[in-house]
């Protein structure tokens, strides 16, 4: 382990921690390919480092998001149950099956989510379409609100289609247990488009959940010997710093800017996974 290696993995991690916190993705989608392709870290150790880094991103950013009331704690707790159950289901299957086809299918659904976010935004000119609480959301008091520092407005919102959100979260959990990524990538669009949750709240709530989902699979990764302390150490430091800095600025950025970034990143991940699925990448 050379000083250059430590420095580069640190820089990569600051970036992925920051981007992960801003987009509610945890950062694994950036971290794993960067570690593998630029530093030559073996795939399984990169995935192991990433699962711990996601916990770091989530915890560091959530401290801020919860303080600023961007995180919808009730919605997070509600969906968390489905996601962790899914993650355990996925972890059972993960080390048993080949997953190229699954990558392709999941990539296609991310591309679909990205496209629906894009066209909804283009059609309406809005980054967020307010909806009312459905029956379950009303009973569970899932509606939320926060002070938007970019516009200076107080935003209040209801949560629609909560049973569908629960189902999507379960699938997201299975996918993240199976592929090591995917939790946030599918929950943020679902909360935003189906549930009517504003982008920043969706990102912060997803970020809140990905730490628990990652914790549910982390022990399995450790068990299989996929977590190397000397690879993961610098990654955790970088991730913590990147996530803490980004989380401080998220509320000052316009929801539509975050959404456009999210759409672009989601489309990129989707295309990459489809290419992996058909064996090109």
């Amino acid at each position: 382990m050379t000083p250059e290696y430590i420095l580069f993995s640190f820089i990569i991690s600051v970036f992925s921690g920051g981007a992960g916190a801003l987009l509610g993705l945890g950062g694994g989608v950036f971290l794993v390919p960067l570690l593998v392709y630029t530093l030559g870290v073996p795939m399984h150790l990169a995935a192991g480092a990433s699962i711990l880094a996601v916990i770091a991103t989530s915890s560091a950013a959530a401290a801020n998001y919860v303080d600023e009331e961007l995180t919808n704690i009730r919605l997070g707790m509600f969906l968390e149950l489905a996601t962790t159950l899914g993650a355990v289901t996925g972890a059972f299957l993960a080390f048993a099956s080949g997953d190229d086809l699954l990558q392709g299918i999941f990539g296609a659904s991310l591309l679909y989510a990205s496209a629906s976010m894009f066209f909804q935004m283009k059609r309406t000119g809005l980054a967020w379409i307010p909806k009312r609480n459905d029956g379950i959301a009303e009973r569970l008091r899932l509606s939320g609100g926060y002070h938007d520092k970019a516009t200076g407005e107080n935003v209040a919102y209801g949560v629609d289609k909560s049973p569908i959100l629960l189902g999507v979260s379960y699938i997201a959990g299975i996918i993240s247990g199976l592929l090591g990524i995917g939790g946030g990538a599918i929950k943020v669009p679902a909360m935003n488009i189906l549930g009517g949750v504003p982008m920043k709240a969706a990102v912060a709530t997803s970020n809140f959940m990905v730490g628990v989902t990652a914790a549910a699979s982390a022990m399995v990764y450790i068990r299989y010997g996929h977590c190397d302390a000397f690879i993961t150490g610098p990654v955790i430091f970088g991730t913590l710093i990147g996530a803490s800095i980004a989380a401080r600025y998220t509320n000052r950025i316009n929801g539509s800017t975050i959404k456009i970034l999210f759409i672009a990143v989601l489309a990129f991940i989707g295309v990459k996974m489809i290419l992996t699925g058909v064996g090109i990448w």
């Binding site: 149950l81 628990v212 302390a229 150490g233």
Partner: protein
């Protein structure tokens, strides 16, 4: 108001967890480099070694403890939430969070037993 108190405590738990794990990792890594500790040369985390390892408080062990605290942070937040929902007699959410905790415990034992 009660909600706000819970939020600020949740945020505090997360901050403490992150700070404690970062501090332990920093100390462990620094001592590791300084002493050239060879008690755990491969660096691959192992649960048995962390829990029952012989070289207690050796540099590598301090480093590994940092990882364990990182892992324990989201779990602690769930435990706190469940407890505070129970105290507030919010039984729907108390049940929800307790179930999440059960799933986590299940996945941890699964991970430890293999």
């Amino acid at each position: 108001m009660v909600e706000r108190l819970m939020e600020s405590r949740l945020s505090l738990i997360l901050r403490i967890g992150v700070a404690a794990s970062a501090a332990l990792m920093a100390i462990g890594l620094a001592l590791n480099l300084m002493t050239g500790d060879a008690s755990y040369p491969t660096g691959i985390l192992s649960v048995e070694w962390i829990l029952f390892g012989d070289p207690f408080l050796e540099p590598s062990h301090i480093l590994f403890m940092g990882f364990m605290i990182l892992l324990a942070t989201p779990v602690t937040r769930i435990v706190y939430s469940a407890a505070s929902f129970i105290i507030r007699r919010d039984y729907v959410y108390a049940t929800l969070t307790s179930l999440v905790l059960l799933v986590l415990i299940f996945s941890f034992t699964m991970g430890i037993r293999g």
